[in-house]
């Protein structure tokens, strides 16, 4: 029983370590992070009130800031992220 409990504990520790330090890296290094940074930088560059679209896949694929910005008369940043990068 003690060995069994040790295995369970080892499994949890391995899992937490792996996901905290090794496997959860793509967001900070990959295309998603680049996209987020680009949106943030664009937002920072626009002074004053602005419209920011926060969304999932819908954002980039079904909302056009060029259209919405003109309609509402406010500068617009589309910060939608398509997580399914494929």
């Amino acid at each position: 029983m003690r060995r069994l409990l040790l295995c369970c504990a080892a499994s949890i520790i391995l899992h937490v370590t792996a996901f905290a330090w090794v496997l959860d890296r793509p967001l900070s290094l990959g295309a998603l992070r680049t996209r987020i940074e680009a949106s943030l930088n664009l937002g920072v560059a626009i002074r004053g009130p602005k419209l920011v679209i926060l969304a999932g896949s819908n954002g980039p694929y079904s909302h056009r800031c060029a259209v919405i910005g003109k309609l509402v008369g406010v500068p617009c940043v589309n910060a939608g992220i398509a997580v399914g990068i494929g």
């Binding site: 069994l4 391995l14 943030l40 937002g43 920072v44 920011v52 926060l54 819908n58 399914g84 494929g86």
Partner: protein, 540 residues
């Protein structure tokens, strides 16, 4: 709400951005994909409620309510009562716990279960005392088959003879197929044995014993009832507890980590076929291969968990699943897949029909009849009959070939067995004959061969055989990366089933390593999964 710049913007010391936000969450898609109540769950689970409040939580072996509440309470109560009051009250506790486990699915069917047990026990008692032993046995068997026939096959048979008949809509009591076979086995054994039935409490505890109540294994009464009637049954044994828990946790991992993952791939393909979408070559093969792995891991997991639970309660169940995809011929496959059902069908159907004692043609007929009934036992639909018929045909061809030419080389035999078994899963899984035809046509390449454009661009030679497309809509999540993802998962799954020993043949050390690999993923899946996927065999 503010956005804080990161990366280059942060380095430039840019301030937080004031903004108007449009938060556009695709709620419809999320709820469609991850419904809390899975359709299969709703089919069986009509729980006891008062003023809309559910009295008992939803419990299956892989739910948090079962693992964190029911099982510890059941074990603690069983051993505490056994220690304080003796084995009989402990067995009574086990019986009540098992009935509670059954009732949380659909309490309406609880009286049917109790009534069926009472009637069978009364018949068994009469059977041992009466001079008309055979008549009582026939009555008992007909009673059981009558109950099974009414609840499971009435609608099906009615529509066979009268296709325009209205649907009777009889709710199928959970576990009825398994309970019926257990009780028939009990009656036949009692008639053969002549030692008289056991006590009513061990018998009731045996039939309702929650580790095997819902989906087997179909264990021999003579194997389990003496264990339950043993005065030492309620004495805690650390070895059994530890072994049982290890087997249970490994089964939990198989279900939550492997079976449900492959189920996701299979469902997408087969659901598309059910909706009339033609699957292309790879979509059809990926869905079928994924389903073959799903049912393998799902049923193997259930069998392991049942065996582990029983072991924790000091009851030893026989092996029910023994790496069937490693079988080198179809007859061996059936000695390794759902072993207890195969044993039941052989001992209580195939051999009484004459088995292999009546010559070639009669043996072929017996094989075909046994497998057709095995198919029908899985469900009242022509798809299951076709599946059973296919396996009957495979067994007959195998017998004839072996008689003429001897056995195939083992690798070739294994490959052919695997191919036939995998193809036969198509009618078993598909929603209809039309869907079956569609998937089989896709597997034959009749709906064309497509591949993601990204893959073809890396390997242009593939364009000679496959049409490049943006995405394959019925493969995985229909993304460009879905195919590599599904390929990697399928490769892993098939490597496990074809090359590794099952956990009952593993060394102790390997089992512990398997636990290290799977436990945390099981915990994650159990607590954070979007919905509970029932065991496939629950519907049988």
């Amino acid at each position: 709400m503010t956005l804080r710049p990161t990366g280059a913007a942060a380095k430039r010391g840019a301030s937080a951005v004031p903004e108007i936000l449009i938060c556009n969450i695709n709620i419809l898609t999320v709820s469609q994909k991850y419904s809390v109540n899975h359709p299969d769950e709703q089919h069986f689970n009509q729980p006891l409620t008062i003023f809309g409040v559910r009295l008992l939580p939803f419990m299956m072996f892989h739910t948090t309510a079962f693992v964190c509440a029911f099982l510890p309470a059941c074990l603690a109560g069983f051993f505490a009562i056994g220690r304080l009051l003796g084995p009989t009250p402990a067995l009574l506790w086990l019986l009540v716990a098992s009935l509670l486990f059954y009732a949380q699915w659909n309490p309406v069917h609880l009286p049917l279960l109790i009534g069926s047990m009472g009637a069978n026990y009364a018949i068994a008692r009469r059977l041992t005392r009466s001079r008309h032993r055979t008549a009582w046995l026939i009555l008992g068997v007909l009673l059981n088959l009558g109950i099974l026939g009414w609840f499971k096959y009435a609608d099906f048979l009615l529509h066979v003879v009268w296709p325009a008949a209205p649907v009777l809509g009889i709710a199928l009591p959970l576990a009825i197929s398994f309970v019926t076979f257990q009780q028939i086995m009990f009656l036949v054994d009692t008639a053969r044995d002549q030692t008289g039935p056991p006590g009513a409490l061990p018998y009731a505890a045996f039939v309702t014993f929650f580790p095997h109540l819902i989906a087997g294994p179909i264990v021999h009464p003579a194997e389990v009832i003496p264990q339950l009637a043993d005065p030492a049954v309620a004495r805690p044994r650390l070895g059994n507890l530890s072994d049982g828990l290890l087997i249970f946790l490994l089964g939990l991992g198989k279900k939550l980590v492997l079976a449900d993952m492959f189920g996701g791939f299979a469902d997408i393909g087969f659901n598309a076929a059910a909706n009339g979408i033609s699957l292309t070559f790879f979509e059809a093969w990926y869905a079928t291969l994924a389903y073959a792995l799903q049912i393998y891991f799902d049923f193997s997991a259930y069998s392991d968990m049942a065996l582990g639970l029983a072991r924790m309660l000091n009851i030893h169940f026989p092996l029910n699943f023994d790496s069937p995809y490693q079988a080198t011929d179809i007859a061996e496959f059936w000695r390794r897949w759902h072993i207890t059902l195969g044993t039941f069908l052989r001992n209580y159907l195939y051999i009484p029909l004459g088995g292999n004692r009546m010559g070639g043609w009669r043996q072929s007929g017996n094989l075909a009849a046994t497998m057709l009934l095995a198919g029908l036992w899985h469900g009242a639909a022509w798809n299951f009959v076709l599946w059973g018929g296919l396996h009957g045909a495979f067994l007959i061809v195998h017998r004839l070939y072996r008689q003429q030419f001897g056995p195939l080389p083992s690798r070739l035999g294994q490959a052919m067995t695997l191919l036939t078994v995998v193809v036969a899963w198509v009618p078993f899984r598909a929603a209809s004959f039309a869907a079956t035809q569609d998937v089989l046509a896709g597997m034959a390449g009749l709906h064309g061969i497509t591949l993601p454009r990204m893959i073809v661009s890396y390997l242009p030679i593939l364009a000679l055989v496959a049409e490049p497309v943006s995405v394959m809509p019925s493969l995985g999540d229909a993304r460009t990366l879905s195919m590599p993802e599904a390929s990697a998962c399928l490769l892993l799954g098939w490597l496990i089933v074809l090359t590794l020993p099952n956990l009952h043949r593993m060394a102790e050390r390997s089992r512990h390593w398997a636990l290290v690999a799977s436990f945390a993923l099981s915990v994650q899946a159990m607590f954070f999964r979007p919905h509970i996927v029932p065991f496939l065999y629950f519907q049988f």
